[in-house]
Amino acid sequence: MEDKVQDPVAGVAARLSGGAIISAIKDAGVGYVLSVPDLHTSYGLLMPIADDPDLKLIRVCKEDECLGIAAGLSYGDKRAVVLIQYTGFLYALNSIRAVAAEHRKPICLMVGLLGKPPGVAPRDAKRVGLRAVEPILDIMGIPHQLIETDADVPRIASAIIDAYEFGHPTALLIGRRPVAP
């Protein structure tokens, strides 16, 4: 399932390590991962997370459950990442609007951009759903970052830590299929 192509910017083979992402969320103090499976991240992230004794995985039925659970966890200073696909992000918009955007809870969305070719900006993707993700986040005032190569991974922990320390949501857009550890 490895998604390894020539990076048009760097001109070298680029990859995204699932193990590095998992290490980054642990470095940010995350103890819970709340998820609906996403083909884009299942092999590289979700399955390894399920086997990781340092992370508690809660499998939910629909994405909006994650918003409530993460908000509740935050009242015990328990940090969580919401691992979903962009279609699930679109499904859960009303909950994201309420809990993340309006209540400013530290919701950390990790959104798999299934079908977005690496090296193509989400706003330039062919699929309308992919093109909609960043504008929606902008309208909601949710900061977001594209995580597409290993060079982007160091920004994950700082984004999560900032969200919890200053009380705001954040979104990490997984732009290429992570390689399983």
Binding site: Y32, I58, R59, V60, C61, K62, D64, E65, C66, L67, G68, I69, A70, A71, G72, L73, S74, Y75, G76, D77, K78, A80, N94, S95, R97, A98, V99, E102, H103
Partner: protein
């Protein structure tokens, strides 16, 4: 047939330091009975009360979390029962006011008034599931249900109304979220 207000008054006699998550009509009536910092109304989106409650139960395992849900709200997030059944927090109590309507939205009927919520919850993996139609039965049971190993689910079959005065701007005020956080941090 019971009504929500009398059920909540019975519940209030047993509530001490529990977290109470309440939504829509249940929240309105609960607030009219007991205004306290450990009330949590910041559900945000219809249907999410039990999901917030699940997160709180995991975050604060030393405290009991009581969710006051509605039948219309639960139907919007029915999968939550499967998630709760799988996670099985021992400190979680889920009470559903079942009046067959979206009462806060004008009393419009839910798709099927006769749905067996306790049966659905049991099939979803929650072992302790109950249905109450008479206030005497609920009064006799609620004390032990609040002490029982969770998750506990109870369908409270009630009539519509009467509704207490609604003031969502007060109920959802940031000050209430801050007071809730402060009460938890103070060890309430």
């Amino acid at each position: 047939m019971m009504n929500r207000m009398e059920c909540l008054r019975v519940l209030a006699d047993h509530v001490t330091d529990e977290i109470v998550v309440a939504t829509y009509s249940s929240a309105t009536d609960w607030l009219a009975i007991v205004d306290r910092p450990l009330n949590y109304f910041a559900v945000g989106a219809m249907g999410l009360a039990s999901s917030h409650g699940l997160g709180l139960a995991l975050a604060r395992p030393e405290k009991r979390v009581i969710v006051l849900d509605g039948d219309g709200s639960l139907l919007m997030n029915l999968g939550t029962l499967v998630t709760i059944g799988a996670v099985a927090p021992a400190n979680f109590v889920h009470l559903v006011g079942h009046n067959g309507s979206y009462e806060a939205n004008g009393g419009v009927p839910i798709p099927n008034k006769e749905v067996d919520f306790a049966g659905v919850a049991r099939a979803a993996g929650i072992e302790s599931c109950h249905t109450f139609t008479e206030i005497d039965d609920f009064t006799a049971a609620i004390g032990s249900l609040l002490k029982a190993k969770g998750p506990v689910f109870a369908d409270l079959v009630i009539e519509q109304g009467p509704l207490s005065k609604r003031d969502y701007s007060d109920m959802y005020a940031p000050a209430r979220r801050e007071a809730f956080r402060a009460a938890l941090d103070a060890g309430a």
